[in-house]
Symmetry: C2
Subunit: 330 residues, 2 copies
Amino acid sequence: MNITEFARIAGVSKAAVSRFFNDGYLSDEKYARIARAVEETGYAPSAQAQTLRTRRTRQVGVILPKLSGESTARVVEGISRVLDAQGYLLLLANTYNDPQREVRYLELFRENHVDGIIFLASIFTPAHEEVLQNIRIPLVIVGQEYPGAHCVYHDDYGAAYALTELLLARGCRRPAYIGVTIEDRAAGQARREGFVRALAAHDLSPNPNLMRVSKFRMDAGYAQMQLLLEKGLRPDGLLCATDNIAIGAMQCCREHGVRIPEDLLLAAIGDNDLGRVCATPLTSAHLHYHTSGEQAASTLLHLLHKDKGATGSTELPFEIIERTSTAPKN
Amino acid sequence: MNITEFARIAGVSKAAVSRFFNDGYLSDEKYARIARAVEETGYAPSAQAQTLRTRRTRQVGVILPKLSGESTARVVEGISRVLDAQGYLLLLANTYNDPQREVRYLELFRENHVDGIIFLASIFTPAHEEVLQNIRIPLVIVGQEYPGAHCVYHDDYGAAYALTELLLARGCRRPAYIGVTIEDRAAGQARREGFVRALAAHDLSPNPNLMRVSKFRMDAGYAQMQLLLEKGLRPDGLLCATDNIAIGAMQCCREHGVRIPEDLLLAAIGDNDLGRVCATPLTSAHLHYHTSGEQAASTLLHLLHKDKGATGSTELPFEIIERTSTAPKN
DNA sequence: CTGAAAGCGCTAACAG
DNA sequence: CTGTTAGCGCTTTCAG
């Protein structure tokens, strides 16, 4: 059923039908006639044909490294919440952290004429830089600060700094750190920096042997902790860049008879469900992932409506949630 | 840039350009000319305009209750994996389990002319039934068995049955069950049935006081366990419909001095990360969520290609993963 | 192998 | 307030 056929059935002109669906001038009588015909036939205009005319799809593309993973899911949930309410549909692109895929999706989104793009970023390669330069579609970056773009990100530096101070305050003297690649400016570099600078503020300098780099997964955290233990460098405190890494480290400790918090104070960033539930509940910096999704979406909406006002970048705060893993050394 | 302008730049006709992008007849010379022009201009055809002609969007709609939640995320990850590879884009609809929203999205998907729909279902209301009857878009249901539809689901009954037998084999004599609403045929009814029938097979009849209904969340599991404990009906084994519920129950037990597995054997269904990591690692039936997503997607692809062959419904098996929470009573 | 031309379903001037 | 009309960018006969 198309607009022509429907107009015939309703006994009005195509233009009247179009006006019905687009809030144009319409007499009450025609309005009623059309409303009834819609009821009866279930007619709805074709989104594609509308797009062809209006240049608007009411679709927003979301690019993310992987869906499973609590933080990503929360961000998308937040995005979905606000975009839904405005009648936008979400186009999802799972990239598995593969820059080639990210670029391909940016391309695909362009071909599909999405109204805007939200990019959950982790690492920026030269390929990214180039695409991001040339993209003409309104875009918001989540989780990273990227000069010249509209961004929503967390206070990664501050969270790491605060947790490190907490560790020290609880009696830690030989702090260790398990982070992620510094190619990730937010989760890698900024958090590491927070750790290092907090130590410096207490006249401590980080022991390079106690600074490790891990992947984002639990098993990787486990492996790095094992390395630390095997080398016999007994740290008495550990900050991990993510909860998952910390949980892995915690399991390693348990298997090696290292008690938390008695022998090792442990803290991490992210505050996911795992940390609340695990053997020794984990002290963590809560990051507002859901909020960051909402914020990104509403920034994008402003962009789409050309409100010069409420755009720009946003840094979200964190909250330290102290649990058993940093209980004081009595 | 549109096809007309591009054709002019490339020095060929519109038809030639169209053939270039659709593998039509084309001389090598024109092919090369167009290829070079694409390289230079970055031209790509508009997906919407193509759709208007071809009636295909290469978009698949996915309807789900909520994104956060390990199982859902895994299913979508699986869907994404196989659909990506075929050049389909995912349109995501988060319904918060609100039937009205589900119906609205089905509508929205129709307007957007998605090629197919994958529906992660939980409960079927009359509103669902009606929409599902009338939908003319190829559709696959995940997680539930629905007569007359193409479905991919898990052996919920079998998993519950097997775990109940395990509990009994480990010495459980007064088994309790915390499930979810039986309106959910899969997670509610089938799992409950598995529990009851396994007891019957061992000449036990379930104590109605030991059968509880919970929401899907941890705190709800906690609350139901508390009720069980407060009534003084000390069960010595507990099967929960989901891991999350079990984790909540576990926390309640810990706070009330009930030891797992010494005082209470505990098992659940789903095998998520939480159960692996929590204080007492949880015995659980692993369900292949990722696989179910992949399976649903490939069933849909067959539908789209009108392969009569590989469609129909699929039941996926489970695997019992035994952990500390059901360690034998000495 | 190639190009001209006819729409796909809709919206937005424009002239009433 | 209303209808007519000219495209939006593309694919696909059809006749070379």
